[in-house]
Point group: C2
């Protein structure tokens, strides 16, 4: 095998620690004297031959990726279809890969990216080009199968648990004369992992959050309002955590009612959080506040989980090792060895088992009321939010997040006309 280069790209929604994975990939490759190119904006960078030469970045800058949120090379929401439907695009990506002597391709993303990496490995094999493709897990949604958890989730989970705990103290202090119900909307269109993480904020019957609404449980307005009412009567206030993806029994997203158009045809970009808040106000006459942290929950590197950071770096390092060993079409998965004390390792898993699948919360993680988490869920989640890994701060009081040079690799091919 010739010298060859390694191509790395980031895909899908970014996380607080995806750059930590990138940093670990580059460090591991540098240690093996392997050159790393990065595609800008995920697979689009490969299509456009928009590549970055990471060898132009200093060792200090690469180290700083470990504490910098966002996606340093740019990410994308762009999914290639089947090899047949998007034949020209796959062929183009392979052409760019060949032109830059890429022998190893690492795609850092969720299950769509696993699918892309798998297809590309199949195409390369069919065309006789020696390319090893490795998927690298990442998603705050924690919905990849096979792996015990996904890098990015632990930090978003920690952010959620801490923010709910803090806001709950605020609401409790104000409830006598002001806000009685607080609604916190978390990400998770299909799986309630982040909603469940909010459950870490408190233990015991009357500890916040008092109500968690999971996408796995059909939304029942009457049952929800009854629970709010009794909680306020007993505790004095009520903290509600709602997943953006909750649905009615018939499958319709609850949020869609608030996300339509008003009578004038103007967009109503309310999420499910403000919608439930309005319901509580109208039906129960209680003073309510709500929050939608949105991107803050997946970019809050300042509150990253140390465990999550370790996972993110470990899968980056392992991905390079697998690639250089020629383990094609795999992903480094996190394997849990023990809950308490928490022990884990990384092991290769076939991309074909992961691509296009989605892991929901196990039934045993939601309690009988449907509004809370079980001890088994807590046992699973707790190690993932454990430990702090704050970024360094500057004299201006802000974290010292790095901005890379992103030095462009000269193009060798004509522009893609696809």
């Amino acid at each position: 095998m010739g010298k060859g280069t390694l191509l790395y790209a980031q895909s899908g929604g970014v996380t607080a620690v995806i750059n930590a994975t990138a940093g670990a990939v580059i460090q591991a490759a540098r240690a093996r004297k392997v050159k790393v190119l990065a595609a800008r904006n995920g697979i689009l960078g490969a299509l456009r031959e928009d590549l970055v030469d990471t060898s132009k970045e200093s060792a200090a800058a690469i180290r700083a990726l470990a504490h910098t949120p966002g996606g340093a090379f740019g990410s994308c929401r762009y999914k290639l279809k089947s090899l047949e439907q998007d034949a020209a695009k796959y062929a183009r990506v392979l052409e760019v890969i060949k032109a830059h002597d890429v022998r190893w391709f690492l795609y850092n993303g969720g299950n769509d990216s696993a699918d892309t990496a798998l297809k590309l490995s199949q195409l390369a094999a069919a065309s006789g080009y020696p390319l090893t493709c490795v998927g690298v897990p990442k998603t705050v949604d924690n919905d990849l199968v096979v792996t015990d958890c996904c890098p990015g989730f632990g930090s978003a989970a920690k952010y959620t648990a801490v923010s709910v705990a803090e806001a709950a103290l605020d609401v409790e202090a104000m409830a006598d004369t002001s806000t009685k119900v607080f609604v916190y909307e978390v990400m998770g269109r299909h799986a309630g992992w982040l909603a469940a993480a909010a459950g870490l904020a408190g233990q015991g019957k009357d500890a916040a959050p008092h109500i968690i609404l999971f996408p796995e449980v059909a939304y029942d307005e009457a049952a929800f309002l009854a629970k709010v009412k009794t909680t306020v009567a007993r505790v004095g206030h009520c903290v509600v955590v709602v997943s953006e993806g909750i649905r009615h029994a018939d499958g319709r997203f609850v949020a869609d009612a608030g996300g339509g158009k008003d009578a004038f045809g103007h967009s109503q970009l309310g999420g499910v959080g403000p919608l439930l808040a309005a319901t509580v106000k109208d039906k129960l006459g209680l003073k309510v506040h709500w929050t939608v942290p949105d991107y803050l929950q997946r970019s809050a590197r300042h509150l990253a989980s140390k465990t999550d950071l370790a996972h993110a770096q470990a899968v980056g390092k392992a991905a390079v090792e697998y690639a250089l060993k020629g383990l094609n079409g795999v992903m480094p998965a996190i394997v849990r060895l023990a809950d308490k004390p928490y022990r884990w390792k990384v092991a290769p898993a076939p991309l074909s088992d992961i691509a296009n699948h989605e892991k929901k919360m196990p039934k045993g993680f939601i309690d009988a009321s449907g509004f809370g988490i079980t001890p088994a869920c807590r046992r699973y989640l707790e190690p993932l939010v454990r430990g702090e890994a704050p970024p360094p701060y500057g004299p201006d009081g802000l974290p010292k997040y790095v901005r890379l040079k992103l030095s462009a690799v000269p193009k060798k091919l004509p522009a893609f006309a696809g």
Copy 2:
């Protein structure tokens, strides 16, 4: 003067560091062998004779108040009117104060609380009862006059600047194929201090936040949209920070359009953030995300400013010193001695100068475009967000926030019938 006790109470919206002030008050009083009672839920606790004996709390618990957000004794949104209008209530508060041998009353709040403390001191003096009343500043809104800044603001400002910086990295990474415009709504109904703090997130022409909408500047939709459009064209994305209190040129709150009822009479609890997001989507056709952190911004003790924490503790300690010296009707104000290196001290200021006034941003803090902050504003804000003071974390990955015993003081009076 007899032995006497000191009564402390918290008022208005809580902050990340108001409990640090409470802890400093109790520690300073304990050092002088003065007993401290706390009223539950602010002045309401005095009206209801609902008092807590802080001597039942351990030294460790009182120390832990320094890193615990919320309001440990409960706060209130409840303003006493004039001495004439609320004569019976003031008389009752004085009766409770006398019954518990209270000689010093410390009210920790904003300008309403300063007003209450001032009126109570006047009433006591008129009735010949020796009571020293001291206001203790607190508000994330930073809108108290005389004092250079308000404890609570620096931490909310740091939270805002860091969160905007982090979310901006997220948006930048996604902008090529996804979100192009991000709208971040901050608190500040009348003054743009927290909106201005977002400006600390970036420096330079194209650094986020690209647009700040202040309550001090009339909202001009056409100018706003034009600026969003040119920013996206030049930078690729646009981060907008909007104060909840922005108004149209005629004085109407912009948020009111989104906070009304829909065609069915249901409440629309959208803030100005989602409203502007919808405007950008409809008028410019750009993909947009928005966040409303709401209470998170004022309860995020995990991201407190070390400077702010020092201020909060200093005003608590000074308030006790002033009270015991008999400095009646004053508030410890923070006096800035120098910007760089930042130096400050605490000095007493008359409550009569502070009560019912509101400090807006100086004209010189908003740049000529109306969408950004000036170097003078940055010079003012930067020291206030400087330094980190993280809470201790437990093995469960969550901050170790304290919950007090709140041991009730036996009532001596019949219930208040007012």
